[in-house]
Amino acid sequence: MEKLNRREFAKKAFGAGGLLTLVTALNFPEAASAFSGPEVLIPSNKFLNRPDLGDALKSMYMTYDSTTPYPHKFNETITKHQLRALEFFVTKGLDKEYAEHYVTTMKPVLLKIKEALAKEKDPDKALVALIDNDPCYFQLFERIKVKTGERTFPCPYKGKLQDCKYWLGTFKAIEWKDVCNRWCIPTWTGFAETVGIKIKVQPSDDCTVKLA
């Protein structure tokens, strides 16, 4: 790949490409509003209106600046905590009920999703609601690849379980397959049944959840 030095980058950015884009954009009243200053853009943008972004960025910086003994990611703690909780409830013989408890405590939300699905008649919307738009998942999965009726994402648990076993040595009760079989599959299947869809889960390094 061609490398650009700072001067060349600036030339290209502010040269023909940038100017042409600006002139073109200004010819469209709606698009041009973005150039009219932050007072036009910001009121309609929820992200830009958040006064607490600094805290989020600090947390992100601290996370991604920690690269030993392994690179930390935004889902470091949520993944670790889920594994820890599962490990504990497996040792107590309560893992099945633990997964059922998740589905049960989400039931009112899931029934609202079911209601909305009945109106829209688009089963893919179930995956949008259950995976794409749920903070418990978009804060857990690094990338969610979206295809109609199918979602694929890298398993956050596999590497983290290895890290925990190696660096802490106190995770002894569960293996990776237990996470799939005792946590992910029962909870997702439970959610799907409650919202009135059927899914097929294909656990792997890249896990796939498909409408069945």
Binding site: T63, T68, F74, E87, L94, L168
Partner: protein, 222 residues
Amino acid sequence: MDIKNRQDSLLITEPPVEQPACISRRDFTKKAAGISAISLFALMSLPQAAFSWMNGKFEEREDLNDGLKAIIKTYSTTEPYPLKFNEGLVRQHLRSLDFAMRKGVAKEHAEHFVYVLGPVLERHIKPAVAKLGKGIFLWGIFERTGCSYQLYEHINIKEGERTFACPYKRPLEYHNKEIGTYNIKWKDVCANWCSLTWNGFAKVAGVEIKIEPGETCKVSVV
């Protein structure tokens, strides 16, 4: 009244009447940088130095886009309340605690957390306390670890004391009001999760702490 919180006889103190003094950005940076620098140099002199302390590799990361996308998605969600970076983690803690309490295993659940993190405490925090004094304990369990900086929005640092906004209150109150499927109340989180785990960490490190739960929670070494 004995305001010390011990793992075996837990007492929760009243929330502080006065808000803790605000710290300016400059003072915060000064204190954080000062404490961190001292701690870092001291820890580096320990045989088994702290591993995951920030090591200046942020700009070399090729997966920043994933982290940033998660933040944008999170902070673009403002209904039913503005989500924060710790939302998923907070919900997970609350859900696990609710289940543990229903099953009567909340104390063991918290002790298990202390147990799994025990090696880190034994390896890093305990020797640091022995070498640098008990104040370093708070640095070790709060601003030093991802379990805290991915959970608390900002941690106000004072010598021997940390304060931070409770991350559990709003999501739990929302859940209890609008969804209504948890048995736990806010005070249960303070008593059966935060206090038990922090006191457990303190016990391993050989330190005593005082916890003052509130919307702004305060933890200080005794």
